[in-house]
Symmetry: C2
Subunit: 235 residues, 2 copies
C-alpha cells in the first residue's frame, strides 16, 4: 500500500490559525515537506514548527530566491521524486503550504507531478485574503459584490479595467509594485478606500491606510479596496 | 470593563476545518450567538456544536428564509442589542460565522452595529472557496492569474464580461441560477473547464463536472472555472 500525499494549508502565519485537521495531520506525520528559501527559514515550516514531531523526516525544498523565473521547477521535480520514494514505501507525506494550498500556492507543482500516481488529499487553509480583511477590521465582500483578486505585477491598463469592474478588490504580491499601484489608485480616486496590510496575523503585522503605507513593501503585503457604499451599514 | 466581541469563522462545514483559535474561543465562550433559519438547525452552530459548552448562553438570531430581502435587518438589530447587554456586563460574546466572517458573511451587520462601541476581534476562517477547490482537487489560482468571484444572481451581460476578463472564476450562491449559468457557460465554450461543488467538506458533499450537475442546485453550491492553460503542469 502506498502512502497518501497531503497538501495541508497552514494558514496565513499565526500558528493558531491552523485548522484542527492540519494540526493533527502535522503532529502525526512521519514525513513533512515544505518550500524553503536558500537562506533563512521556511515560512510554512515556521508556522507549523511546534506541531512537527521531533523525529519526523523533513524534506525542505530549497527554492532559490534570486531566480527571477519562480518557481524553479527542478526543485519541485527533485522534491516530488523524494516524496514519491516515501509514498512508495507506504509512508504518508504531509506538505506544508502557506495559506491555502490551491490559492496561488506552489503546492500545485507537486500536485501535478504526484496526484495521478498517489492518493492525494487537500486540506484547505485560511488564506492571506481572509487574514488581511480581518486585520483591517473591514468586510472584504458583501451581499452580491463582485470580488476580483489581482496580482501586483499586472500591467496598468488591465489593472484599471479589472478594478473598474468590481466592487471589492484585493491586490496581492504588492512588494516592489507599491509605488506604481499607489499612483494608479490615487489617479482613480480610490486611495481613501484602500487599506494596506503586511504580514497579516503575525506579530510583525502592519495595518495602515494606503496613504500611510511605507515606501518599500515586502512580498507578503496586500492592498484591499472597497468601492461600494458602506455596504455593511444601513441596509 | 466591557466584554470583547469575537466574529469567529467556523469554516466551510467540516468541524475539523475550524481553526485552533476558533475552537478554543468557542470552547471557552460563556455566550455564543449565531444566525439560524426559522425552521431547522443553524448551519454555523452545527459546525461548532461539539465545542460549545453545555452551560453557554446561546443567542440564535432567527433569519426568516422566506423573506426575499435578505437579511432581515431587524433580526440583526435585535441580536446586536442582546449581544450588547452581555458585552456591557463584561462578558465576551463569540459570534459563529459560516466560512470566513468577512467573506460574504452576515456578521458585517453585527459588526456595523457593535464594533465602534466594543472591542472587536475577527478570527478568519477557511472559506467555501478554498473548500470547493480542495473538493474538486484542482488549484483555484496559479502564479499571476486574475481571480474573480461572482454572485450567481449577477446578470448575463455583466457575468460574461467578468468571466472574459479573468483566468480563474468562482460563481457563488448558484442555487436556482444553475440552468441559466449552465447555458451561459456552454455558450462561452467553458463547460469542459467548469466544475460543480455543493456542500463542500460535508458528508453530503457533491463534486461533479458542470456538465453532470443536477438540475436543482442548493444555495450552498459553487461553480469553479479555470481558463488558463494547465498552469500547474509543465511549467
Amino acid at each position: 500500500m502506498s502512502g497518501t500525499l497531503y497538501g495541508v494549508g497552514v494558514g496565513p502565519g499565526d500558528p493558531d490559525l491552523m485548522t484542527l485537521k492540519a494540526h493533527r495531520l502535522i503532529s502525526n506525520a512521519q514525513v513533512v515537506a515544505y518550500p524553503a528559501p536558500d537562506s533563512g527559514t521556511s515560512f510554512a515550516r515556521s508556522i507549523a514548527a511546534d506541531a512537527i514531531a521531533p523525529d519526523a523526516v523533513e524534506i525542505p525544498m530549497i527554492v532559490p530566491m534570486r531566480v527571477e523565473r519562480f518557481p524553479a521547477q527542478d526543485v519541485y521535480a527533485t522534491g516530488a521524486a523524494t516524496i514519491a520514494e516515501h509514498l512508495d514505501a507506504g509512508r504518508d507525506v504531509v506538505v506544508l503550504c502557506e495559506g491555502d494550498p490551491f490559492f496561488y500556492g506552489s503546492f500545485m507543482y507537486l500536485f501535478a507531478r504526484l496526484s495521478e500516481r498517489f492518493a492525494t488529499e487537500i486540506v484547505p487553509g485560511v488564506s492571506s485574503l481572509a487574514a488581511c480583511s480581518a486585520a483591517l477590521a473591514r468586510p472584504l465582500t458583501a451581499r452580491n459584490d463582485v470580488l476580483t483578486v489581482l496580482p501586483g505585477p499586472l500591467g496598468d491598463e488591465a489593472m484599471r479595467e479589472r478594478i473598474a469592474n468590481a466592487e471589492a478588490i484585493a491586490i496581492m504580491k504588492v512588494g516592489r509594485h507599491l509605488p506604481r499601484l499607489r499612483a494608479l489608485l490615487d489617479d482613480m480616486g480610490l486611495t481613501e478606500r484602500a487599506g494596506y496590510v503586511e504580514r497579516a496575523s503575525l506579530a510583525a503585522q502592519v495595518v495602515l491606510p494606503l496613504a500611510d503605507a511605507p515606501e518599500a513593501a515586502p512580498y507578503f503585503s496586500m492592498i484591499l479596496i472597497y468601492k461600494g457604499d458602506d455596504p455593511w451599514l444601513n441596509q
